[in-house]
Symmetry: C2
Subunit: 397 residues, 2 copies
């Protein structure tokens, strides 16, 4: 019986709150807080089953977060606000001695740079304080990292090749929209690609490596190598990996829109003076694009995310594919939001349960593949994200 503070009331916050409310045996008290309290109130009303309290907090403001933590006294803070806010929330957890969890790594506002260095630098301080920080407990990073840990524990002596494959085979019916915060999404996919090969990073141009990969129940989709944050921790934690790549599907129309957004300057993250106000074009674009949280109602189709792994088991080559398919419609019917938020929010709830029930424990800063994957893999299906596995496939990649 534990108290949890959830910060962030976007699509993911909605799913985490809904799922925590579904599990009163673990989450005895739930407080949902964000910059705009009314967004929390809507979530509490729509999916809170009468079990969610709400509060206002500016997550950029450490003293405000500290005060909120001290007044509520949770055992864990689940941060599903913006990646910019990871560090202030970690600072507040350190100051109050409360465990921390997030679903996406910190990035500075003024440069598109995705790496764990800033958060890993908290290692000693979290240890000294006797608390834990769990980084990246969404789907990818999160479930994909746990899939890899599960494969390493049960099916491989050495993992050599890892391809994380992320397909959104859904259709939201809009000319253009991003599936999560467009600012974060566009920053992420317009950077150079990068993958791990023989002990070092190989840089690619954005969308340079393209392959039509087949996804279960979806079919062939153009997939592109891009950098994704879990690669950094996975190659560190599984040092036998010779090659690790992250693939994501994009339709031609999506890429055309993205190219134009860049050409016209709307992906810029430096401020432009307008009517005397400094405006960051990408932030303003976010205000004009459809709200990802509103895409759910007419969203059809499925996401399919998994790990395709080659390596050695008992001296022989082994191939293994583990994945989840999630339906946008089912996600919407259950939580009122679409599949991409759903697949991120469910693992955050379950990771929180692992921490609060002591299945995952320790002091310091952790990536999720460092914990025992078994209790997580045993439960994730019943919370809405069942997984499938196949051996001895022709893995294409």
């Amino acid at each position: 019986m534990s108290k949890v503070l959830i910060i962030g009331a976007g699509g993911v916050g909605r799913v985490v709150a809904s799922k925590c409310a579904d599990n009163p045996d673990v989450f005895s008290e739930i407080l949902l807080a964000s910059r705009t309290k009314s967004k929390c109130d809507v979530i509490a009303k729509e999916v809170g089953k009468g079990r969610i309290q709400t509060a206002q907090v500016d997550a950029d403001n450490v003293p405000e977060v500290v005060a909120l933590i001290n007044s509520f006294n949770p055992e864990l803070v689940i941060n599903v606000a913006l990646p910019y806010q990871d560090l202030p929330i970690m600072d507040a957890c350190l100051e109050t001695g409360v465990n921390y969890m997030d679903t996406a790594n910190y990035e500075p506002k003024d440069e598109a740079k995705f790496e764990y260095s800033w958060q890993w630098a908290y290692q000693e301080r979290f240890k000294e304080k006797g608390i834990m920080a769990v980084l990246g407990c969404g789907f990818d990073p999160g479930v994909t990292s746990i899939y890899t840990a599960y494969a390493a524990k049960h099916h491989f002596d050495e993992i050599h090749y890892l391809d994380i494959v992320d397909c959104n085979g859904g259709d939201h019916g809009k000319a253009f929209a991003t599936n999560f915060n467009p600012e974060i999404n566009i920053r992420e996919i317009t950077q150079n690609g990068r993958y791990w090969k023989d002990g070092k990073w190989v840089e690619t141009k954005p969308f340079e490596i393209k392959k039509a990969l087949n996804y279960p129940n979806i079919g062939a989709r153009n997939s592109y190598v891009l950098y994704h944050e879990e690669l950094e921790s996975l190659v560190k934690n599984f040092p036998t990996i010779k090659q690790a790549r992250f693939w994501m599907t994009f339709g031609d129309e999506y890429l055309t829109h993205l190219r134009v957004i860049q050409n016209i300057g709307m992906s810029r993250i430096d401020p432009v003076k307008y009517k005397g106000v400094d405006i960051i074009p990408l932030e303003f674009l976010k205000a004009v694009l459809p709200n990802p949280g509103d895409l759910g109602e007419n969203y059809t189709g499925e996401t399919s995310i998994g790990c395709r792994i080659k390596g050695l088991k008992d001296g022989k080559e082994q191939t293994y594919y583990v994945w989840n398919n999630a339906s946008h419609q089912v996600a919407y019917q259950e939580t009122g939001t679409q599949g991409v938020s759903y697949t991120t929010g469910v693992p955050a709830m379950l990771g929180a349960k692992m921490v609060l029930t002591g299945k995952w424990s320790g002091t310091g800063v952790f990536n999720v593949e460092e914990f025992d994957p078994d209790p997580f893999m045993a439960e994730i299906g019943k919370h809405g994200l069942p997984w499938n596995e196949e051996f001895n496939l022709d893995l294409e990649v």
Copy 2:
């Protein structure tokens, strides 16, 4: 020897000011005014030949314009500010009894509606005051209207078919930029198309009618029927016209960019709330896109704009094509701006000369095809926009 007030310090204002400064026999004193005086100062310094005074004025503010007119006492105000400002400047001219000229018709800020109704409504008031307003004295409208009047005067008894063909065969080397104010440009070309046919307007979807037309010295270019304001006055002033269309060239990449700009909501002209400020997406886009006035330096190629006319002369079918080709590089070398500003600004200067020298006279509100085209056609070549004509062509359209 006359005093002229030029309002507007964009690319067109630069050309008008430069050209007026070249003709001291007509323009004895020149005052260039805009919202930002420093922009006027730069123009005066760079192309003013020591003959241009500058001032600050908010052209939306009638009392401010009235005060400026009263202090300078010009015989003519040349309005090359934004189309939104046509009416306040006309009001100021009415109040002070000074002649008025512009290059583009008024449009309200909150809807994309292009028609002369608002300005034609000033007819009686300008007559009563004993002054004249000359509407649309740029290239198109402007020179194209005068070409038509010239054709009607010398080469046709009846004009039946008129195609105004506007090709920008230039290359500015940018992924995307508009050749004049992007806000006005995008508003204009994203509206439905419209052309005149047998006594009424036929509406089309944007870019619905497409043809590869040949342009002199440029070749074949995809051209699209769109509505352009001079059609409204030309079919009124030349009632024998059975069909009148306006064609403009667009490259596929330009159209792709435009489609995406619409899809992502950046062409919206209704305000979006951002950080508590009302921001009109299209206006903000203007702040992010390249400044059309800065395109000149690397702009290569030519524009080609003209009229392709069919009709009757002495009972026989006659075809006639009259056009100008202008080089972006020549325009830049002479005035420091590109061809689209140049082709708009030169006719405004010459129209002003027509008014100030009494070649064009009258009281009330006029479109330029209502004046005698001959003195204008006799001079426009030596000011930088020579024209060519051909008879008995296969006109394609």
